[in-house]
């Protein structure tokens, strides 16, 4: 089993998303023709089949749609951190954009206190730098 955190492989459709994360920015792909938002990023708009697209920088604020607390057995990297919280975060301003992310403290140094979170909790986005090409978005409780 891999020892360190698995990282996203970058492709043509999502390279802008990942580049923006290295600038601590969350961006959502929209259709360049009909403006329909889509996540995860992809080649074609499922609504109008246009291959034009654009990126909109968003606040990253959202609310916790659901969450889990994984326990052993896990990949070694996550085994060391268990129990931890992974959430599905519904982004503000969109009806159907939901993104998976760790729920951490604001400074990303520690796990959030599980007792302080619940479905519906208001969250802000932060970024965990993996390397020069990628930062993984995480979310923290709005204070």
């Amino acid at each position: 089993m891999i020892e360190s955190v698995p990282i996203p492989g970058i492709n043509d459709f999502d390279k802008t998303f990942w580049k923006n994360t290295t600038k601590n920015l969350l961006s959502i792909q929209h259709c360049g023709s009909c403006d329909e938002p889509r996540f995860p990023p992809r080649h074609m708009c499922p609504k109008c089949q246009s291959t034009n697209h654009k990126w909109k920088i968003v606040s990253g604020d959202g609310e916790l749609w659901s969450y889990v607390v994984p326990r052993s057995p896990l990949l070694p990297y996550f085994e060391k951190q268990s129990p931890y919280v992974v959430g599905l975060i519904k982004l503000n301003g969109y009806s159907n954009i939901r993104i998976i992310g760790r729920i951490m403290r604001a400074d990303n140094t520690n796990e959030v206190d599980i007792n302080k979170i619940s479905i519906g909790s208001k969250l802000s986005v932060g970024f965990n730098k993996i390397n020069t090409d990628i930062s993984i978005p995480f979310w923290y409780l709005e204070s």
Binding site: P6, P8, P46, R71, F78, V86, R98
Partner: protein, 383 residues
Amino acid sequence: MFKDQTAIVGIGQTEFLKNIDSTELNLACKAIKLALDDAGISPDQVDALGSFTYEDTPEFEISRNLGFGNLHYWSQAPYGGGASCAAIGQVAMAIASGIANVGVVWRSRKRGDPSSRMWSHTEQEIFDHWKWSRPSGLVRPVDESSMIMRRYMFENDYSREDLSSVAITLRKYANKNVNALMHKKELSFDEYMNARMISDPLCLYDNCLESDGAIAVVITKLSLAKTLSNEPAIIHAYSQGMSQEHSLMTDYHGENPLHSSSYVTANNLWKQSDFQPKDVSVAQFYDAFSPMIPLSLEAYNFCPKGKALKMISDGFISENGLLPVNTSGGSLSEVYLHGMNLVLEAVRQIRGSSSSQVKQVNLSLVTTCDATPNAALLLKGGI
């Protein structure tokens, strides 16, 4: 037309164990021969095959070992837990359309060893859709299922006490099935509540077993089926289903993540069928994880939205309930073979040979994985 043109006429299974000292090929051969013997059909009559894209035993090796006739059709259905009914349905379509006459569908799997868990082979760099979840620690299928269940429990005010009824009900069925891995192990409410968590809110007993074994079925035209000694399990209706924003193992990005591909399969299945959910005597719902049973009960329209877990707690799927479910113990307590054991139990219920036999079974439903692109078969007896 497809309706009522084909039937499952033979079923075969190896022993089910945590570890079988054999190969997947040997186990597949054994299960297929048992299924053909059960049907009373000679291997040289077989001309169609169906399996899973996840199956490692190739068609030509199976054919060379069993001595099948010249083959006219074969296909593989994708997506693991979503595949069993699809593999059978596709072979049934080939037979109904006249391309082939006798089909075999099989699944052989050595998954008892923890090193065979798919998630444990997660690559360092992820290029498929799982790049959007694995790096954040949502690594295993159980985590993906748990995410949905916590939301379902939140929306409908359920607790782990309510969820416990799924695993406990299935264990009682397994306790009556001598072939079930958990035949001799009872499961109490206290054991469930004190079990270690795997992905909170799901605990150990909400997860399927890890096991070795193989299962096969034989499918023929109904006209041939009627000449055989077993009561045919007539394939009355079949559909696959995949919703628009489905992403393998999740519907997180659709309009309602609780609205799985099962809704697509169910809608088309009932449309193909002459019957309604209320006409169904017994059902086998794919259960890699316990949440899939209440979610499927709602998707297939047996329970109002949000009510399934309450109804299960009240005995709806139990032996004396209105709709006994996973009556051999299912994937949670009989064996985990990507749901092929559920197909065999659906057939046994038609034949009247289940260890938890439901009285006067006319219609027997079997489904595949709620969290993947999936499929279902509505089987009919009475001939």
